[in-house]
Amino acid sequence: MTPPTLVVEDLHTSFATDRGELKAVDGVSFSVRQGRTLGVVGESGSGKSATARSIMNLLPPGTSTSTGRILLDGRDVRDLPRAEARHVWGVEAAMIFQDPMNSLNPVMQVGRQIGEGLRYHRGLPREAAMRRARELLEQVGIADPDRRLREYPHQLSGGMRQRVMIATALACEPKLLIADEPTTALDVTVQKQILDLLDRLRLEHSMAMILITHDLGVVAGRADEVAVMYAGRIVEKAPTLRLFTAMRHPYTKALFESIPKVASPSHTRLRVIHGRPPDLAALPPGCAFAPRCRHAQTRCLSESPALSGAGDDEHRFACFYPAGTSDGEAALAANQAAGRTAAGLQLTNPSPVTSGAR
């Protein structure tokens, strides 16, 4: 088997803030093969974008520190000479963002924008770059490409802008495409169009893809493998179907249960995850999810669980008392009997409404 297109090993990224060092990415490792999609899911602030930006060398210089290995086709991109590194980040890897308006140049025509990378990195003459830009616009499903080539980003709808962003990212035929919340700002019908498009292009170009989203539904149908992030760490990682059929980490399970489902009857009570994610500048010892976890025991408050598979290399989780295992279910039962977890979380779930109004 060919080696993975991307290997990330023990990535740590932190930011200097006025409250001290903020650990945005705290020991993340994964790999993605050619033609495959890794879905990265997590709530706001869990470190998804910081991971992506670390890989793409897009961290703010000065205020950020990042360690760990990033191997693209077996070469550590952080060890490469400057010129080669520029080639890697300009040609071999590309990224698209949630808000295409922020990454497109507002005063440059769409055609020039798409062709720019080709002229700079591949040395294509203007005419050839334009021809290629036109082809790319067609590939990403933009009707009337000749007219669109000469338009400016503000003349396009949100969905079309994202298509242009994708065309720009694909221009140099990258091996790796990172899509950071590519559809979060779009309507659901347009979201489907864009995700279908990314799927098709990934296959046609045999790219490795990282699809970052906060929506478990988006990765469910699209990713080969899913990594769930919480407080800068991967807390569970598995092939998609296995993750959805056997969620082990209490956070993954709780996240899933807190989402309203179209298949459930109206007024179905949602399961709530009490509290909020921890402050990354002042992480408590132990498992970062412990204060909100229904399974938490004393051990969780002092020891940090490693991402391990209990003999299963494909499905890994970072939890001492995983859901669906005898240890995990016993821990939950004990907490329920006591009415509280080791971290003091009440399990009887009293309704938040406490006083009468009328």
Binding site: M160, V188, A220, F244, P260, A357
Partner: protein, 351 residues
């Protein structure tokens, strides 16, 4: 302009809020006007939650604001508990409007950063003298009802709270006025899913506790389904279909609703490969003639370009505005071999 029908409305005496033939136009420069809401009619009975769903720009917020007369609709009627709001002015309007409160998508932006939480929640209670016991009690109760503590939170300012907590403060501010109708405009769209669940459950509890009637706006179909008794689907300023939540979700009658439902990412990892909707929504400056959905609809015929479809009853209990609804009537696309990929002659996208 032709409306899209009022056959689905219940008698005015049986409902708390009734909106009839609402039109909202905005001036859009060079003498042009955008028709943001056109011929929209619906009603909400006491204790009911009506979900208003549709994609960005379809007129959900404009509808909500027109109900509150902020700004007044271009035409149409809004009756709240039998009182015609469009006929009220000044102090009369202000007094009646206290009964209708609204919360918004961006809770942090809707709170004055310089004011203390207790003062924010007290804002609308100016009928009572500033320090009155009664007003303070109202604020204390409202905060407690949204799960916040007056002593702990009252003296702090909004920036010290997370998005979810700011939404709780906004809800408390609305509740302090003891409204009968709570209009929620995308109240959970900017929140993380785990916080979204907290707010949705809270709204369900408060609805019971305060006997609220709700108009709940969202673009997330699962969220709308979870909280609504009835649902109204909008597209480009018009109603596509309206009726009981289960009917709309289990047996959609409008092709647009069907496309919306098919676009939802499926959580069971076995995504249905149902047809994606083609094209982008048309610009509101050039709303298509007849049915505004026709430029993206696989069933459209010449009739759809010529006549605005009126809301008519569909077999599963909702009302649908479509010349060729998915149930009942024969359709131009009812030959199963003639599948969605085969476009109909008039179904090409507008320029």
């Amino acid at each position: 302009m032709a409306g899209v029908g009022v056959a689905h409305l219940r008698p005015r005496a049986e409902v708390l809020l009734q909106v009839t033939e609402l039109e909202v136009d905005f001036p859009a420069g060079r003498g042009q006007r955008v028709s943001a809401v056109s011929g929209v009619s619906f009603d909400v009975a006491t204790g009911e939650t009506l979900g208003l769903v549709g994609e960005s720009g379809c007129g959900k917020s404009s509808t909500a604001r027109a109900i509150l007369q902020l700004p007044r609709p271009t035409s149409g009627s809004v009756a709240f508990d039998g009182t015609e709001l469009t006929a009220l002015r000044g102090e009369d309007l202000r007094r009646v409007r206290t009964g209708l409160q609204m919360i918004f998508q961006d809770p942090i932006a809707s709170l004055n950063p310089r004011r203390r939480v207790a003062d924010i929640v007290r804002e609308g209670l100016d009928i009572w003298p500033e320090a009155s016991e009664q007003a303070t009690e109202r604020v204390r109760t409202a905060l407690a009802d949204v799960g916040m503590d007056f002593e702990e939170a009252g003296n702090r300012r909004p920036h010290e709270f997370s998005g979810g907590q700011c939404q709780r403060i906004c809800i408390a501010r609305a509740l302090a006025l003891r409204p009968r109708v709570l209009i929620c405009d995308e109240p959970v769209s900017s929140l993380d899913v785990s916080i979204q669940a907290q707010i949705l459950n809270l709204l369900e509890d408060l609805k019971e506790l305060y006997g609220l009637t709700m108009l709940f706006i969202a673009h997330d179909l699962a969220v709308v389904k979870s909280i609504s008794d009835r649902v109204c689907v909008m597209y480009l300023g018009r109603i596509c279909e309206i009726g009981p939540t289960d009917a709309i979700f289990d047996r959609p009658a409008h092709p647009y609703t069907e496309a919306l439902l098919a676009s939802i990412p499926q959580l069971d990892a076995a995504a249905a490969e149902a047809g994606a909707l083609r094209g982008d929504p048309p610009s509101p400056f050039e709303a298509p003639s007849g049915c505004r959905f026709r430029t993206r609809c696989d069933r459209a015929t010449d009739l759809c370009a010529e006549q605005v479809p009126e809301l008519r009853p569909a077999p599963s209990g909702q009302f649908v505005a479509c010349h060729f609804p998915l149930t009942g009537e024969p359709t131009p696309a009812d030959d199963p071999a003639d599948d969605a990929a085969v476009g109909h002659p008039t179904a090409t996208a507008s320029p």
